[in-house]
Subunit: 245 residues, 2 copies
């Protein structure tokens, strides 16, 4: 995997904002139809994982890309600081409890990868244990893929400057203040540590299940690229409405 | 409560289809915004219950009214035939496990009311037990209302003729065949028994938490009335984005 700092956080030059927004509008309709077919076809589950720095736009992606979907066929799970009960299990236990069944789309806002990011940044566990966890994650995902689950992992890639801008905006926009958490500023100071942890995360995933790196400084491009990837993935599944039995 | 057979299943004369669809489009945007505010405000939970005969449009209502919502703030639970584990508990156990927390919208596709409908129609339990169950439901809902949960109960009211038409359509439309269940025709023959059971259900609910009867033979009016009720309910809550702390 390339050095993460060498990958642009900006939208590429080959698409304009107005064109991307126009296509997003159409793709939201496609997702609405494809999701119905995916549910009816019922042969696979779809797991969508969103990871990225604080304020990289995980919530915003869900809000703007997926608010076209039938909520009966889609669930969202946000992984927060583990509860006491969750901590008394292995780190994949709470993930397992939220996996999608066939026909369902499950979105993870943060995921099992938090357990090889946060503890690394805060130096809570040693390198060997991180490697073991990553191996367990790779095996877990390979098992899911063998069990009819399609996995899409999006890394929302923003710049440090854009993060600072967004955190300040949260402090000043009356409709966004409620999202501000005093720990945001503290975590933001650990930027370089997070970049190193994300680099290991990206490097440690096998080719069978790679991350999709989404340049995310411009929200319109982020939404466009995530939607495009989902539409293409669903279209490639060659699904059918079941015949009368 | 009026006799259910005297309540029209048709859209009233004071609104046209084109106008209702235009307003629905606008209201879907309102629901999108209001849901964000509801989540941020975080003072209440919203429980939306959909009941109605087979093919009355419970799935369709969710698909067409709620596919505008941020799936991060909305969950749907479909209550099917109880599993062995569910049957080994009291009938409200599986309902409790799916209640919304503050800030969340929870949609029930069928609900606790199945347990005073199906067993009555099929004469599985006696009248006294049904009355006890209904009392338990009323107390349960009053408790939820006292605990910051807003409850909206929609009864989707269709005619026998429209049901027959829709079941036949399921058999012949390639995009709908997968929804057809051979038991649909069997249950449809019990129309009068179902009407009697629904009448008791409507009669047995207190004034504090009445059913909203939705004339549902025309899908456009059903979607319009459900959306309108939700928008008005959310607007009346006088919510605010929390201030910076």
């Amino acid at each position: 995997m390339k050095n993460i700092n060498d990958i642009s956080t900006d939208a590429p030059d080959d698409i304009e904002k107005s064109e991307a927004n126009k296509q997003l509008k159409k793709m939201r309709k496609d997702i609405f139809s494809l999701q119905n077919l995916f549910y009816a076809d019922g042969k696979r589950a779809l797991l969508i994982i969103l990871q990225g720095m604080d304020s990289s736009g995980k919530d915003g992606t869900i809000r703007h890309v997926f608010s076209c979907i039938n909520p009966q066929g889609c669930r969202v799970k946000s992984f927060k600081t583990p509860t006491e009960e969750e901590k008394s299990h292995d780190f994949l236990w709470r993930v397992y409890a939220n996996l999608p069944e066939k026909g369902m789309i499950q979105i993870f806002n943060r995921s099992q990868y938090e357990d090889i990011l946060f503890p690394v940044v805060h130096e809570l566990i040693d390198k060997k244990e991180i490697q073991e966890r990553h191996k367990a994650i790779n095996e877990f995902e390979a098992h899911l893929q063998d069990s009819h689950t399609v996995i899409l992992k999006f890394f929302l890639h923003i710049s440090e400057k854009e993060q600072r801008h967004r955190i300040n905006k949260r402090l000043n926009d009356p409709e966004k203040q409620w999202k501000y958490n005093p720990s945001d500023k503290k975590e933001a100071k650990l930027w370089d540590n997070y970049i190193a942890a994300y680099q290991s995360m990206l490097d440690g995933c096998g080719k069978k299940n790679p991350w999709i790196i989404v340049p995310a400084d411009q929200k319109w491009y982020r939404n466009y690229l995530v939607a495009k990837t989902i539409v293409e993935t669903l279209e490639n599944l060659k699904m059918n409405y079941p015949k009368k039995t």
